[in-house]
Amino acid sequence: MTEQVWQALIITLQLAGVTTAILMVLGLPLAWKLSSMTSRVRPALEALVALPMVLPPTVLGFYLLVAFSPNSLPGQLWQDITGSTLAFSFSGLVLASVFYSLPFVVQPLQRAFEQLDRGLLEAAATLGASPLDRFFSIVLPQTFRPLLLAASLGFAHTVGEFGVVLMIGGNIPGETQVLSIALYDAVETQDFASAHLIAGGLIGFALVLLTALYTLDRRPSRKKEAH
């Protein structure tokens, strides 16, 4: 069991890490775009992004499974290109997690971007900063805390999520079995010693990680202060 737990831990961290990275890369421009959109389609787009939240994970997982299956177009395409199936692979897990955790990343980012003082961007523009430059030199540092929040929400959600992963991943040890599933298995099979161990570990790990994160986050505050 323990070896399997270690494997699951590693896969979990890999999955959460890769997913979070992709989420940030996707989520940042998406949230930025949404926050500065004025078109009528914006609410619809926002609703679309928020959608995965209202579906039960296993159900979402099921529909993703259908989509990823080699019988469907996306799954077919993936197989044609990579030679392997999308479902039951690490890539599939990542894709599903990204889809599922997207709202948890995009929404806080979008709100943060909306709260941003546009005047500072204008100032940066007059100082010669291109739009991309402004994004990196003004927007990102200004929204550092919400960014951290978005990333940690994405990460935690990917770690804790399991309905989708179970469905898409197939719970294959060493490949797609993540910690949450191992934990689920342990509870299901009445192996409470393992369950308590994994749950305790997860909680401890999360506590340490999150505390560290939030402590780091408490650097001299950069929010607009009363002057």
Binding site: T58, F62, L65, V66, F68, S69, P70, N71, G75, T85, A87, F88, L166, M167, G170, N171, I172, P173, G174, Q177, D185, V187, E188, T189, Q190, D191
Partner: protein, 261 residues
């Protein structure tokens, strides 16, 4: 793909996983091939197999899903029954519950969801038999699967429930339950099948045959199931503790014959 040659991927219904865990270990020792277990509910596993999950063997907790898979051409050969589940009425705080306990029961009772779980269906049949199904004096608490029904009772939130004998055996519980007569519910047939897409078909078939060996069947029986073949009487031929051993053993003998046929 190179590794998969000697790794057998077994998809197993969650409630059978603890049993198959040990069997798989001995299979590995015998054959030198690694076995990985992927567990989920039978329904989830079915959906995954339909959509191309890379499993070699499917150990379902029912016989319907394997049959459906066969109809859809997802199997090699026919499904084979590897065990029968046994339902108990569990009331931890009562040393010797009996049928009267059930018929006079008021209040909450935990069962698995009859729509999704075979044990749930069995429990429903038992209740129907005693005309308790739909009785407003009984409040049914449905777990999504038999495991949850067990958890409801085990955590003390519900005083009694219909659970699997195997669950009690796994926890070495030997009192406080009533082993239900077999004729009260349709046999809970658990079927195994070899998946059509398997890259290790011979090994998969070997594994299914292995499960049906006497030694393994005896182990399965020990774990709280009916075996599918005549097995050498082991220490559990007469259960060590049966609250109402008399009537039970009689019924058991008749039914085992039916199964053998």
């Amino acid at each position: 793909q190179t590794v998969s040659a000697d790794v057998l991927r077994v998809a197993v219904a969650s409630n059978f996983r603890p049993v198959v865990q040990e069997l798989a270990d001995s299979f590995s020792r015998q054959t030198g091939h690694r076995v990985t277990l992927s567990s989920a509910s039978s329904g989830v596993l079915y959906n995954q197999i339909v959509h191309g999950a890379p499993f070699d063997v499917f150990l379902s907790a029912d016989s319907e899903r394997p049959a459906m898979l066969e109809k859809e051409g997802k199997l090699v050969g026919k499904p084979q029954t590897y065990a029968y589940g046994r339902l108990v009425f569990w009331q931890p705080l009562n040393a010797k519950p009996d049928y009267q306990t059930i018929t006079e029961w008021r209040g909450r009772i935990a069962i698995a969801n009859p729509e999704t779980a075979p044990y749930g269906l069995a429990a429903k049949q038992v209740l129907e038999h005693f005309h308790l199904w739909g009785d407003s004096r009984i409040q049914l608490l449905q777990g999504a699967n038999i495991q949850q029904a067990w958890q409801f009772v085990a955590t003390g939130n519900v005083r009694a429930g219909f659970v699997a004998l195997a669950q009690l055996r796994a926890d070495k519980i030997d009192s406080g339950y009533l082993l239900l007569r077999d004729e009260l519910y349709t046999p809970i047939r658990q079927d195994a099948a070899v998946i059509a897409g398997s890259k290790n078909q011979p090994l998969a078939e070997q594994f299914v045959r292995f499960l049906l060996d006497n030694a393994q069947q005896a182990f399965i029986q020990d774990a709280g199931y009916y075996p599918v073949r005549d097995v050498q009487p082991t220490r559990d031929a007469q259960p060590v503790v049966e609250p109402n051993a008399g009537s039970e053993s009689k019924i058991e003998s008749t039914y085992t014959q039916v199964y053998k046929g």
